[in-house]
């Protein structure tokens, strides 16, 4: 009998790129259920618009770069980007803004760097940052949950600010613990349901899509910062609670920080990455001009990801070659 030659190994693990991205898609769809419950059908339409805009932009730039035969249905990364962007937006945002944010995210933050696995910045974080800069006040005023929203937002809809804006102005948000956990506060469409987000995190950890080092370091540093420097001066516990559970901090910790392309690969690098992101987020919240700083912090830390990688590779090179002293010079970092 004659056969074709094949390369070892001849057995494979069952994970694939599709299954990893499929896990993230399942969790975002669960968040969409809660968004639909609170804000009606407009939230689903925003999600659909974002996904379609991202996919079309991806096909456009692949055609322009001459890689038309590399467009395949198995590459689900623009779908994931679209779902994550739309969950960070308020439910009362106009549709044109959604389309422009998605086009910016794919055509400016992802296309110039190469194809899907070669981007330097998280496209969702870049899109949200652009949206914040362009439509500042509109991005931070949210409709009340459990009220129906018309398709075109006009003057009849009442928009309020979310707890993190209240904290920035020095006030105390008037919501109870159960309201904050279940998401009955005004906020971004998918980022207020803390219980569902925690469940998504546990699901992703158990499936192996996400490693625990990054979210744990991020949340730990934020908690310590909020505990030591509380913005609600009479109670540290309440301050920690509101800092962690208001705004997009938990959402960023689960979905935007764990993008596999833009995170370091070794454990030490991941811990440092999460801690740096948490520190910069809290600084942006306290001293920045916007009430939420998670997306800007993630962009900053993405640019430092290569440094963390080089540092941890140096440590492992030292361990492999059994050297004793640690020579680390910034000038010739790759030696």
């Amino acid at each position: 009998m004659k056969f074709k030659p094949q390369q070892p190994p001849h057995i494979f693990h069952t994970d694939s790129n599709c299954s990893i991205m499929g896990d993230v898609l399942i969790t975002t769809v669960c968040l969409y259920f809660m968004a639909f419950y609170y804000y009606g059908i407009r939230s689903l339409l925003i999600g659909l618009t974002a996904v379609v805009a991202c996919c079309l932009s991806q096909m456009l730039y692949m055609t322009l770069m001459g890689k038309k035969d590399e467009i395949s249905l198995r590459d689900w990364s623009p779908i994931v980007t679209g779902m994550i962007i739309s969950l960070m937006l308020p439910a009362s945002i106009p549709f044109s803004a959604v389309i422009i944010i998605c086009m910016f995210a794919i055509l400016v933050a992802k296309a110039p760097f190469g194809r899907t696995g070669e981007n330097l910045f998280n496209p969702a974080a870049a899109g949200i940052a652009f949206g914040v800069v362009c439509w500042g006040p509109q991005m931070f005023s949210y409709p009340q949950p459990m009220h129906s929203l018309p398709l075109i937002i006009d003057e009849s809809v009442r928009l309020v600010s979310n707890p993190s804006s209240m904290l920035k102005l020095g006030g105390i948000p008037p919501y109870t613990f159960s309201e904050v956990i279940f998401g009955n506060v005004p906020g971004p469409m998918g980022a207020t349901n803390i219980l569902v987000i925690t469940a998504c995190l546990i699901f992703l950890l158990c499936r192996g899509t996400v490693r625990w080092h990054q979210p744990a370091a991020f949340i730990a540093v934020c908690t310590v910062f909020a505990f030591l420097f509380p913005r609600i001066s009479y109670s540290r516990g309440q301050s920690v609670l509101f800092e962690l559970f208001s705004g997009s901090l938990m959402f960023a910790a689960v979905f935007m920080l764990n993008d596999p392309v833009t995170s370091p690969k070794r454990e030490i690098g991941r811990l440092m990455y999460g801690a740096a992101a948490g520190f910069i987020t809290m600084l942006a919240r306290y001293f920045g001009s916007f009430p939420q700083g998670a997306c800007f912090a993630i962009l900053l830390v993405n640019s430092m990801c290569l440094l963390f990688d080089i540092f941890s590779e140096k440590i492992y090179t030292m361990k492999r070659r059994e050297l004793r002293e640690f020579k680390f010079t910034f000038g010739k970092a790759i030696r």
Binding site: K2, F3, Q6, P8, H10, S16, N17, R266, E313, R320
Partner: protein, 344 residues
């Protein structure tokens, strides 16, 4: 912080039903009958040099690394205090060291005790892979007065188990000890080897003792095929080579297994998304992702820093990669590519 709890990978070991069945003999009787030499008369009063001479006449080859047994004994003479019988089989489907050790226990332990007595009464121990959950028979803790030590861990444990071995140990495969016992007591040369025939396309998976030089085709027919196979592997599924023509491929002493599969793997390589699983599971602490990218673009300076020559070729990185990239072969082939450059 440096202890890597996730080096290597747990594999599903499909060792049943090949392990529990007896070992079948499928030899060329003419060759066997011509392979006898004069056996020594008094087995109990042999010296070390005589045993080495018998091993040389009988042409015994250790199946772990393909070296002749007498050369190993000459090199290690007087330097070891413990002899280890290697019955670890960490690749799935393969049990060609465990099964002879278990079913032909008398011959294996006899050979081990002979060596121990001759070389200053050294200690003896048997190493067996511990993480096997689907065996029908329990391997006992003591076989013929020799302790059996379970070596735990993830694939590839051969590399990790070498850390369990002290610097003054001598490691010999189980089949070589069986052949040594037969050479000493009956005066037989080594003309056979132990092979596992398994896979999902074989009707009767079991361990066989076959003559050296028999073709793969006849062994497959002896065990029976369920369906038309798409792939035949010689060796383990993680590091074995695939067969192009079954009639011209012959069995040697280091062929541990023949695996016949019903389905081809139709995996198309896609793009690397930087998930980092290959980096976590490499047993030598390399970074396969960076080495692969540098190799594709011919960045020699980066490769020098990343120690590509330490790769042991276990195939774990290709196994866990979700994008189905061909990591392990690209990295292992770099050594040949750059050695020739350096020698110029």
């Amino acid at each position: 912080m440096f202890e890597r709890h996730s080096q290597g990978v747990y594999l599903v070991q499909n060792k049943e039903p090949a392990f529990s069945r007896d070992i079948l003999t499928f030899v060329n009787n003419k060759i066997v009958s011509e392979s006898f030499f004069k056996a020594p008369e008094n087995v109990d009063e042999l010296t070390a040099d005589e045993i080495i001479e018998i091993a040389r006449t009988a042409e015994i080859v250790d199946e772990r690394d393909g070296r002749a047994l007498y050369k190993k004994l000459i090199k290690a003479k007087g330097k070891f205090s413990r002899i280890v019988m290697d019955a670890m089989d960490d690749e799935p489907y393969v049990s060609s060291q465990m099964a002879p050790m278990f079913h032909l226990a008398d011959e294996a332990t006899g050979g081990l005790k002979l060596l121990a007595k001759v070389f200053n009464n050294s200690e003896t121990v048997i190493f067996v892979y511990k993480n096997l959950n689907d065996l029908n028979i329990n391997i006992p803790k003591i076989i013929n007065d020799i302790p059996v030590e379970g070596v735990g861990g993830r694939y590839p444990i051969e590399h990790g188990a070498l850390l369990n071995i002290r610097s003054d140990d001598l490691v010999i495969g189980a089949c070589a000890l069986i052949h040594l016992y037969r050479a000493v007591t009956q005066g037989r040369k080594q003309t056979t080897c132990f092979v596992t025939v398994s896979g999902d396309c074989i009707a009767n998976p079991r361990n066989l003792e076959v003559s050296k030089g028999m073709s793969v085709d006849s062994i497959m027919e002896r065990c029976g095929l369920i369906d038309i196979p798409q792939k035949v592997i010689v060796g383990g599924p993680m590091t074995g080579t695939s067969v192009i023509d079954t009639e011209t491929t012959k069995v040697t002493t280091t062929t541990r297994a023949i695996i016949v599969m019903k389905h081809d793997n139709k995996n198309v390589p896609t793009i690397c998304i930087g998930c980092g699983r290959c980096v976590e599971c490499c047993p030598v602490n390399l970074s396969p992702m960076h080495i692969y990218k540098a190799a594709k673009r011919n960045f020699y300076n980066h490769l020098k820093m990343m120690d590509y020559y330490k790769c042991i070729g276990c195939g774990t990185c290709s196994y866990v990669c979700p994008a189905k990239l061909d990591l392990s072969n690209t990295i292992y082939a770099l050594t040949e590519r750059f050695e020739s450059n350096e020698n110029d």
